[in-house]
């Protein structure tokens, strides 16, 4: 496992001990809040301050079984380009069982640029 991978697992373990809904720390672009809803899990994306998630390219969770879930929210910014509240998606199964890749286009308000954030679950 790479150094980055080890660090990520360690950070995830810390998060596990603290909470099931960890907002991003200042140096992290994106956090994922998980909420159990019956047999399913609602995933909600939380951005760090100064960042926003593109609504023109809705975030996606690519499950390992081939299904692709898209994140959404009813509230957008006036230009309809970004989410005005955290987008979420309902994933099948409990969050500990989820395996896949999450993608989001995350944009910086100040510099007016975007980049892709990819998280391996």
């Amino acid at each position: 496992m790479s150094h980055l991978g080890l660090t990520a697992w360690a950070a995830a373990a810390l998060a596990f001990s603290a909470s099931c809904a960890t907002p991003p720390k200042p140096a992290e672009p994106l956090g994922v809040q998980t909420t159990l809803i019956g047999p399913n899990t609602r995933l909600t994306l939380i951005t760090a301050p100064g960042l926003k998630v593109s609504a023109l390219l809705k975030p996606a969770l690519e499950l390992n079984d081939g299904r692709v879930l898209r994140f959404d929210s009813p509230r957008l910014t006036p230009d309809s380009a970004y989410f005005a509240e955290p987008p979420s998606a309902l994933a099948p199964g409990r969050h500990g069982e989820l395996r896949g890749t999450l993608r989001a286009s995350v944009c910086d308000e100040g510099a007016a640029v975007c980049r892709t954030v990819v998280l391996d679950l």
Partner: protein, 193 residues
């Protein structure tokens, strides 16, 4: 910490989320890149090899454009910052094409094909919608994006008549704003050489 600085810092972000074991593996890697405040750079431009083009009868090559100033615009139609910048680029094309500028859109998708960004018909429709007449290459495998070490949408690479990269930068700009004037001045500078 300014938003831009924060954004740089985020390039290496490791994300801990609930009980999920998460590893950040952003396409964007660790090093910072110039954003709005572009820096002059002097390195040979690298030959792109995109196969699929729009708004041109045949693929454009770096070698074939020797003697012209080239502005590469890395963009994707799902990027609002990118499409907001298009009117400025269309303006540059109208003002400077006959004076020696070749503007090339390098259309690089953010997401896999299910998002529709790889579809040539979708790109063609957007070129029409935004009145883009300059050539565009489909960079569906991000080959040219990677070749130039691009990290953000939109990004720009300005190449002089001898094939040397002279300016690079990223970030949205608008007709006649400060950064429009910055890029306009740089184009004029290279056209005059």
């Amino acid at each position: 910490m300014s938003p831009a600085t924060l954004f740089f810092a985020l390039s290496t972000g490791v994300v801990a989320a609930g009980t999920l074991a998460v590893e950040s593996s952003s396409r964007v890697q660790a090093q910072a890149s110039p954003l709005l405040a572009s820096r002059p750079d002097r390195r040979p431009a690298l030959p792109w090899k995109n196969d699929s083009w729009l708004n041109t009868d045949k693929p454009l090559t770096l070698e074939g454009l020797e003697g012209r100033v080239i502005l590469l615009n890395f963009w994707v139609f799902t990027c609002y910052n990118c499409t907001n910048t298009v009117p400025s680029l269309v303006d540059f094309d109208h003002k400077y094409r006959d004076k020696g500028l070749t503007l090339i859109g390098i259309h690089t998708p953010e997401f896999p094909p299910y998002a529709g960004e790889h579809d040539k018909e979708n790109v063609a429709q957007k070129l029409k919608q935004y009145h883009i007449e300059y050539p565009n290459a489909q960079d569906n495998d991000s080959r040219t994006w990677d070749l130039y070490g691009i990290r953000f949408w939109p990004s720009f690479v300005l190449i002089d008549k001898k094939g040397v990269v002279r300016y690079e930068g990223a970030g949205e700009f608008h007709l006649n704003d400060r950064n429009y004037k910055l890029w306009d001045g740089r184009i004029q500078e290279l056209l005059a050489e």
